[in-house]
Symmetry: D2
Subunit: 446 residues, 4 copies
């Protein structure tokens, strides 16, 4: 939730393929709408600022405060549904809710707009490249029935990019007019590249993203879809580990959770099941050894075990990378992180051994279980509504954008803005303060 | 999320008991904070408006846009923790998360502020009145351990008001300096009455509310605590009913969900498990009979069964009250609603019988199961943070206010404002549009 | 688990359609088997008796002790899989595991025996009668994929019988060689009638039942499929009701559970979540009023509320039918029970009112939720193995039988024997003793 | 379920401390009992054999068929409840249901027998040895309230033995008359040692075991407590892994489950969620390489991925130990197994690499999550009833025995018999046949 600095004349401007001249099939629903606080007209804007000081410092009149284009159906649309062909692809790691988004897109296209040709590309961007040999599948209301109750993605997914020229070749060949990309920030960079090639070639193909990040690290998205499901599941793991640590003399539980660059899952999971003693996130450095009068993690854990009989540490995978350097990059172009979990495990064991103290340490990495669960009730609703918003935007001819939710409103965000920075846990923000209050851990470890 | 109209000079103004002169024990945590988007300084305000048109229409400079006081710890506090005695009471119907709030209050008071005398009043406002004979219980970190994993409230609860003079007598007698009231809008009116008597008597007792409403109908609260847990549980019931309707020839499922004045649970549950064919809420009138060329509910259901073999209807308890008038008021002073569920059940059965068509109708009212489940992961975090915010506000001497969350920020809201109107599902808003899109039901039934 | 009295020369004898002369495709699996305690040869028997006294009282040599034919694949089979056409029907009320059984039958027929023509009859016995207009559906491994994760039955179900002559007409017309009937005791009577007509007409159609009873009241079945899922779900309801009763002053919870003639669900659910104070089952009469020095239920509940603040009563739907007579029979031919739940509710309310005591009574009937959940892990395994056993029996030409599990072994039971009596909770047996120990309720109420 | 061979004159004989002369407080419950199939009189026996051939081969008259002493309350008891002091200890690894057993013991002792001094020894056998410094805790109905909803053990546990002389010293010092040991086969050997020292010293201390083994490998126990909960949880993990494998091109899932010597959890979990392609258990050897015309595991997995796009392998931790030898013994004296999971992971990766084929392999070891969940409904009932049976046995003066369930009946089993061998998955038995049928894997791999 860092504050966005407008980097250009109008960083919030959404690109369009052209004038939307066709009447929307949803017009009857829209016309009946009366102006209200629960409906932002398509000509209005959702304010970027929500705090008085920030807005004031803009130094502009109220009418010029920056805003994001609201989501929702438009009175006029760009594409003729009866002729439109739509593609959907899911990219990157698994995240709860992928199938809900796919299903939501398909149902909205079919039932509200009357689009009858919707295609799923298999296994991420590989699905556009013939050499991988993945088939393109037809998506219908029948074929997506019940998929929202399953985890994973029925389309398959993969990491890594493909040449955007190849992708656009494929889109042209198949006559695709709208491409929905459900994926993380790497995939969104890919989508931006695709939209770029589309523009160069003078094509009329809309590229709309539904941003996926189990780590919740995309800006202009209050909570990314699947995040609530994920941290609730992570909290169950913390519970298991707490049970073990408390059932064993000198029990220490160590849980590694997702979070390459941001500690949202670790923080929320620790709050949800607040039995963790120490939470370590990428945004807040920590030391293992005592330093300058402050206890390091090793001393803290030893002392906690001595005083209470057990201790539980939750660590985000991206925490402490200064202690345990990573190695190279993966297929998505993401840096391969050092394994902080195994490193902490060894250091903790060594420190107890060195002190001649018994310890029963349990180290757990439950990522697989968290990624693959079906969306919970909240995320099911959220994915469905994100999908609706994405369809409305694409049908109106918007492109090179993602759908988001800002302060509770569905909005359109240029891809460029969405990938311009990461959302992180602010060490001075309210969330981290809550973690400190709930765990009682010192503000600075080591 | 209707837009609040400031009704006076400063409807957002929070009352205080007096100047906060003591250093907060949390000062070390707060001092370290740097200005950021994730931390609203206590001198700043959270903007009431989040849409450009609304803000513009205020006709004031940016600096004068109305705002709510942010939640969070203050540098100076009013009460001396070592001398303070705190009371907690839970009132009204059950709601997921009550125990989480109670536990969060107790832990924050003990561990962050060092308050050692925290008392629970039993069974709602009855607990302040000697004639009911309920004991006052001591609340300690030990006594609240694990209660967040249980539904219900360990303090007990009851509906209905007590004379605020009696309550304040009790508070005075016990030397209570801060009273936390966790309850619905009736209870908040009660809390306002108590704060009034406190003021009349010139006492220094802070009354801070944590608003509870499983119906999500309190304004200035994005989602009330327990709401997400509740609608997810309600969605499971819809699932059961869909299973039955589809397993039976001519199966009709009818589910009555909470929602006296607002259809949030019905709407969200229907979106989460979107197999419901028709959703009926208090905010959108409907007819049973065909009228003026529009099909009424009875025809719609019959046709759906004829075409697809089954149909599922979700109805909020407050829907269709023009069809089935209620009777009197209950102990909380709430109007007793007519039983729309049983009424619809009978009318549907009659209509199939009249048409000579077979039907297997299943009517279900799962309220008991929804109210009493433990909070899910999200609500667990939310309740904890609401409790933190409530403690910070009270320690700083705020009174006659509730804690809320507005556009994702924790804020202070005067009780008077919080009970000034209800949050409802706007028939022209985005949520209801999503329901119409997801169910495909006509915008006007009957 | 009452002891079966052999009523004829050989009540355990299983009927066959004729000599099984074809080699089983499973022969390679079977031949490799060595004699062991975990594999009962097809020529062996599973002893009916498991207690020394009962066996001794038979007065026969060991070799003549009565036994049931074991389940499992036979070396020789009767039907040629390449020519066989199979029908499956699900009848009666919903029960967890129906879809698991259907899927298990289909997969075993396809993958182990190579049968390619498997048909599902829709909506119970109605599916055989043209006038209902239900389609026959093809069942393939693809079409049953994932159905085990859903509750209900994909085939649909209905109560009530059809003329067995009509059913056999349909079977003949479609060339069905094996019919699997998944249903309760009414349906098994129907299956016996069908097998009778088959025999009269000299047809070679095997009729094999998989007995379904959520009430667990079929003899020679340790636990009927779905029972464990059902009582665990019922226990969750008890938990909800306990939460409510304890959160309310003078809280009384009253839960009505399934169990027309037998109190298994009520007993097991009460043991699983043992917070119920009183459990009422059909097998153990009880009185409401005090009688002959014994307290009746009304006094007991009042006293419990006075002493502990709350009370929870679990009642099986068939309990206390002497107090609240039923009315007629339903479509399945089952007596319509009197509504003991609502009756107790009223009597309890009246008794508190008469005593001038406050009470908050919550009455809950969660049957819909219990019937429609998917099978849990245990029942998933059990349904699959029951389905395997049913297929093996049918392929070998067995008919007019059901598959069961006796003392942990899969066995064949003649339908006649399976419907000869009901399994009930023995008031002098171990289960009821456990209930009395766990609740502390008096052996005789009223 | 291997058949027990009587190794001596009377291997089934239960030891007693002496004549039971006191009237049981449960006498009123027992006297009312009438002879029935659901109640085995204390003078009767539960037959060891349940198959005709086995019984016949005994070559004895029916009256001399071997039997186990039935569980349940006795008319006369040995200990005077008002003077008795009882100890409870939980030993070895975690298993769902430990807290249910502890609670069941405490409640039965208090409420049915009136014993008021019940003590919990902390952290397994360490709790009896002063040098560990663990406190003895008092166990009351109040202190065990709600513990059955938590996983783990409130008493703590540890692996490893202590000198039985030390243990008996402690028991004597505290005046303990009955010791309940909840633990695995190592702990039962320990219990036997304790009972031996008790006998040598001529003391009157009853030692009664409640056998715990998440692997289900104790003989004379149909299913050990916690087993159903455990395999159902394991099945959820398989589901997660299947989701991942199917969402990824060339996805291979590899799940390592508990099962040092017996593959019950792997087999049942694979049946419950039958999407696994290959199940590997300790009892059935397998090869990685092709051999003698049979495909080895590596080829099978490669072929499956080529044909279907993905494959899932479930392996019990004790499987394939000929391929990956272990190393030494742990604190409980159990052999440290080789890590077959990691070994298979590497070999599979190497084999795909060698073949120049892509693969996305996910390896998961969910043991921590399985061990620490609360008992499900079935296990909750089962643990409670086992606890009741254990209390009845001990109060009647039985010793050096464990409670078990044989063919559905609660029985007493001498410790010596219970530890004489392991229960394993019979490669020729019905369970393994079901696994072969459900997975379609070859009877011999490699």
């Amino acid at each position: 939730m860092e504050h966005p600095s407008p980097v250009g004349a109008s960083p919030w401007q959404i690109s369009t393929l052209g004038a939307a001249r066709l009447d929307s099939p949803l017009a009857p629903l829209i016309e009946a709408r009366e102006r209200s606080e629960n409906y932002v007209d398509e000509s209005d804007l959702v304010l970027v600022d929500d705090v008085l000081s920030t807005a004031s410092e803009r130094g502009v009149p109220v009418e010029q405060l920056p805003g994001l284009e609201p989501g929702g159906p438009r009175r006029k649309i760009f594409f003729d549904p009866s002729k439109l062909r739509v593609g959907i692809v899911t990219c990157g790691g698994l995240c709860p809710g992928l199938n809900n988004v796919v299903r939501g897109l398909v149902l909205e296209l079919w039932h509200q707009y009357g689009v009858r040709r919707v295609h799923g590309f298999r296994n991420g961007y590989e699905g556009f490249v013939a050499s991988y040999g993945h088939e393109v599948v037809d998506l219908t209301p029948e074929s997506v029935r019940g998929i929202d109750e399953q985890g994973g993605t029925v389309l398959g997914t993969s990491r890594g990019q493909q040449d955007p020229e190849d992708v656009v070749d494929c889109l042209e060949r198949l006559g695709i007019g709208v491409l929905f990309v459900v994926g993380g920030d790497g995939s969104m960079r890919g989508a931006l590249g695709i939209a770029g090639v589309v523009a160069q070639r003078g094509l009329k193909i809309s590229v709309v993203g539904v941003p996926k990040t189990i780590d919740n690290d995309i800006p202009f998205i209050d909570h990314s879809f699947g995040f609530q499901t994920a941290f609730a599941r992570a909290a169950e793991t913390i519970r298991s580990v707490v049970v073990e640590a408390r059932s064993t003399p000198h029990g220490v539980g160590l849980v590694k959770l997702m979070g390459r660059h941001s500690g949202f899952i670790a923080s929320y999971a620790a709050l949800a099941r607040n039995d963790a003693d120490y939470v370590l996130v990428p945004e807040v450095p920590f030391g293992l050894e005592d330093d300058d009068g402050r206890e390091g993690l090793l001393s803290l854990v030893q002392r906690r075990v001595a005083e209470r009989g057990n201790a539980v540490v939750v660590v985000a995978e991206g925490a402490g990378q200064d202690l345990v350097p990573g190695d190279g990059v993966d297929a998505s172009g993401n840096a391969v992180l050092g394994d902080v979990g195994r490193y902490l495990r060894r250091r903790l064991l060594d420190s107890f051994a060195a002190a001649g103290r018994p310890v029963n340490l349990r180290y757990v990495d439950p990522s697989y279980a968290i990624r693959s669960v079906p969306a919970n009730g909240y995320d099911a609703v959220y994915c469905l509504r994100l999908a609706h918003a994405a369809v409305h935007a694409a049908m109106a001819g918007r492109t090179a954008m993602v759908v988001g939710r800002w302060h509770g409103r569905f909005v359109h965000v240029p891809i460029e803005l969405a990938i311009s920075r990461r959302n992180v846990v602010d060490p001075h923000g309210d969330l981290w303060l809550s973690v400190l209050e709930a765990t009682g851990q010192p503000t600075r470890v080591g």
